[in-house]
Symmetry: C2
Subunit: 483 residues, 2 copies
């Protein structure tokens, strides 16, 4: 059949350029270790290389490919370098990239079951698989009252948890009448900032967010939590939500989930457990103790897009009871009505998230689990933890450095004994070298360096090189300063 | 250097399987026209083909590829079929798929400028390009007080607008003290459900959402809007937010943005303009009149992932003044502090959205604009509108069917004269045939069929076939019913 005039890339061209892009990516991974990990560009430098106006006429794809190396690469901070130890990892893997490629190729909308049953059913299935791999309580699986859903981020997951909790705590009235100003939420001083953001978004108000003190290991003090809950209730407030962290962002601190859970149960508070990065460790039986107490949680989330070889975005969010979540987030305009939804026999994930539209994200998780198998996933997570244990041991044995917090899994918080300014300058010098990238936090008021091991291809040699570089750079700096 | 034992896919394997996946996708597009558009599976059918437990040992990638055809395809509703006329399009294109592939290959986190300057700067640049292509007011560009950002969806964009408006209207107090219950928001009965959802999420309360009546063309009645605002103010309430639609979801109705904008300006109300699908039409000068009045808007959003050949997710969200948005959404934990942020010389898009993490989404938009050029984009958008105009004309001339609303762009709302049950049965029969897929709405209480033309490769022959099938199926049904 003759085609109308069009400007589309032909499928023959797509096959050709698709191969070139796959090869470009493979080349990238083969070279990435040698790139400066943190981009060295100055503000505005990337934009200065781009033409002011969009093209009137279409360009050859080869021209676009050329700009990848010229314009884009210098401004990339290489999260996929094995020398990336900053923030948290956002690791990925070849099967995950292929899963994402398939997802954009199929180009389906998964907002409701009917708009692509495979998108919904594979997601439900893989989320049940994932619950099994982590040893999560049965209540988080789709067969009972709860279930899992893929959100874009842990931020969105915790916002959904806050909204479900808000609705439940107000007898399902907050959506209708708005916030009362009486609800109070509980975190620790180490809880991720996304809870603060979620509390603001949900109209709870920061004044109603209680920041509970932590112990010497930066874990929430459960006695202080219950004390504050009791005080708030006496003051006529309604404690409705608490977040416990399995692995805080700053220092990987482990909140006592079981004790917190019992307190929440006593006071009718929704407990959300945020295991954004560290949750992955529970796929190894010997690390599963981190999940102790989560049978008391109302919701739980972790990110395969941090430490499970699945490219961003892929957050796994589980609820023990899907009803409050769906009541909080459901909408049903006429144009989305359909027989499958009305039969009640299907899940419409639109009602489990903030947005309406959704991608086919379970494909990449499915690919990753099938490619690695449980065995392969466990191997790599174990290995990362072994590397962190080794690094922590080197720090412990060092005369110049000290550990700043326990290192239960893959994050080591440490500092040079020469104080804040020295540590900050050390970090900046290391990052400017381009050889490694690490970031900082403050613990007990002191500047602390964080070395987080989780990039897919990080091996012992990278960690050894990093430690050598850190020691040498510190010695050089101490020498300059006459310390 | 010898590698440690690992379970990763090698880069040689990635090159091989990557090519296979590219070819699979190309084959898919070459065949998609022949697949039943709406998936014909029953609830549970996809899951039933999946093993109960995840694999302990990793599988060959070839095994995974086999399951694409066996398990996944039957459960796909083919949004990329040229015979897809349902809901809104979620169209895509080969360059967009390649852009998304590159994004997952690079695997960067764009939460702040420093975590990959290219990710932030390309986004700012392409958003300025896009503003130029649409002829948006200068205030929406990054050079002035405002700027653009890519959100996942129009739902998220409108939630961000509501939150910025909420903060501004409360003197930047709502984040701190929570919602007062005094704020009121304004939509029409035809506004997208995401505003209702956003109002609930933000703690405003549905009782404070005013649903303004529409005129005979389903556009908001501005007199009724102002009347209600004045009443609310008299009652001691604080009108703070209104949403005008350029192309409603049900029927593509065009709210009178200019009149609404003047009313909002008089009363100090944040005006958000939602042009989710229809916004794309403004790239054609002859259709740009749809944007008349948006110089009065505080925020504007449209979706290249609907009708601009860019795969989901890619929503373009613009604000006239970035300060309220950033004040509403910013967080700055110690571990994200960095020199670039503190210099004030860079944008940190983390503070322009709900989530913290973000993908490198501007790549695909950049690829699409460069591949098609302004000329190519205009050609295809024009062509889709021409096809809809032709279809509307056929309906108008038909004895059995009637238009149910004006068809200003690419959506035609129509119905058979035989009433609701007949139209519903007609739609179900058409969709079950697998030959086309269309969905319904209710207009003036009557079941109405929607034929939306926007899939990338839809041409005249597909629209002609659709009309022929609709007429034949209706005749067959009328015959059976003796009507």
């Amino acid at each position: 059949m003759p085609q109308e005039k069009n400007y589309h890339m032909t499928m023959d061209q797509f096959r050709k350029y698709g191969r070139e892009m796959v090869d470009w990516i493979a080349d990238y991974y083969e070279k990435v270790e040698n790139f400066p990990v943190m981009s060295q560009v100055q503000p505005g430098q990337v934009r200065a290389m781009l033409p002011k106006d969009p093209p009137e006429k279409g360009e050859e794809f080869g021209e676009i490919m050329k700009d990848l190396n010229r314009v884009i690469l210098p401004g990339i901070t290489h999260w996929q370098s094995p020398n990336f130890f900053a923030f948290f990892p956002a690791n990925t893997s070849a099967p995950s990239i292929l899963g994402e490629l398939l997802s954009s190729g199929l180009g389906v909308q998964g907002m409701i079951w009917a708009t692509s049953p495979s998108c919904t059913e594979l997601e439900t299935h893989v989320m049940d698989w994932m619950a099994g791999l982590l040893g999560l309580p049965e209540k988080f699986k789709s067969g009972g009252t709860g279930g899992g859903v893929i959100e874009d981020t842990a931020s969105s997951a915790c916002l959904c948890a806050i909204l479900a909790a808000r609705e439940r705590a107000t007898g399902y009235e907050s959506n209708r009448i708005g916030c009362t100003g009486k609800l109070t939420a509980y975190i620790s001083s180490q809880t991720h900032s996304s809870i603060e953001k979620g509390v603001k978004i949900a109209g709870i108000g920061l004044e109603n967010l209680r920041v509970i003190a932590v112990d010497g290991n930066y874990a929430m003090d459960p006695a202080a939590l219950e004390e504050r809950i009791i005080k708030d209730k006496k003051d006529g407030l309604v404690p409705f939500f608490a977040c416990a962290s399995i692995g805080t962002t700053s220092s990987n601190a482990m909140d006592p989930v079981e004790e917190i859970g019992k307190i929440c149960a006593r006071h009718g508070i929704w407990l959300h457990v945020d295991a954004a990065m560290s949750g992955t460790a529970a796929i190894c039986p010997e690390h599963r103790h981190i999940n102790s107490g989560i049978d008391l949680a109302d919701s739980y989330s972790f990110n395969p897009h941090k430490w499970m070889f699945t490219n961003f975005d892929c957050n796994c969010f589980y609820v023990a009871d899907r009803e409050p979540l769906i009541k909080a987030l459901s909408i049903l305009p006429e144009y989305l009505r359909n027989k499958a939804t009305e039969s009640g026999a299907v899940i419409d994930y639109r009602d489990w998230q903030i947005a309406l539209g959704r991608r086919f994200r379970s494909l990449k998780l499915w690919f990753v689990i099938r490619h690695y198998g449980a065995e392969g996933l466990r191997h790599h997570v174990r290995r990362h933890i072994e590397l962190a244990v080794a690094f922590a041991e080197w720090v412990r044995e060092s005369a110049d450095f000290e550990l700043a917090a326990p290192a239960p899994l893959n994050l080591v918080c440490f500092r040079h004994r020469n104080g804040d300014d020295f540590n900050e300058e050390l970090m900046n010098r290391l990052n400017r070298s381009g050889k490694i990238y690490l970031t900082h936090t403050k613990l007990g008021g002191a500047v602390t360096l964080r070395l987080c091991i989780g990039q897919t291809s990080t091996e012992m040699r990278h960690v050894e090189q990093a430690w050598k570089l850190i020691q040498e750079t510190a010695a050089e700096l101490a020498n300059e300063k006459g310390k």
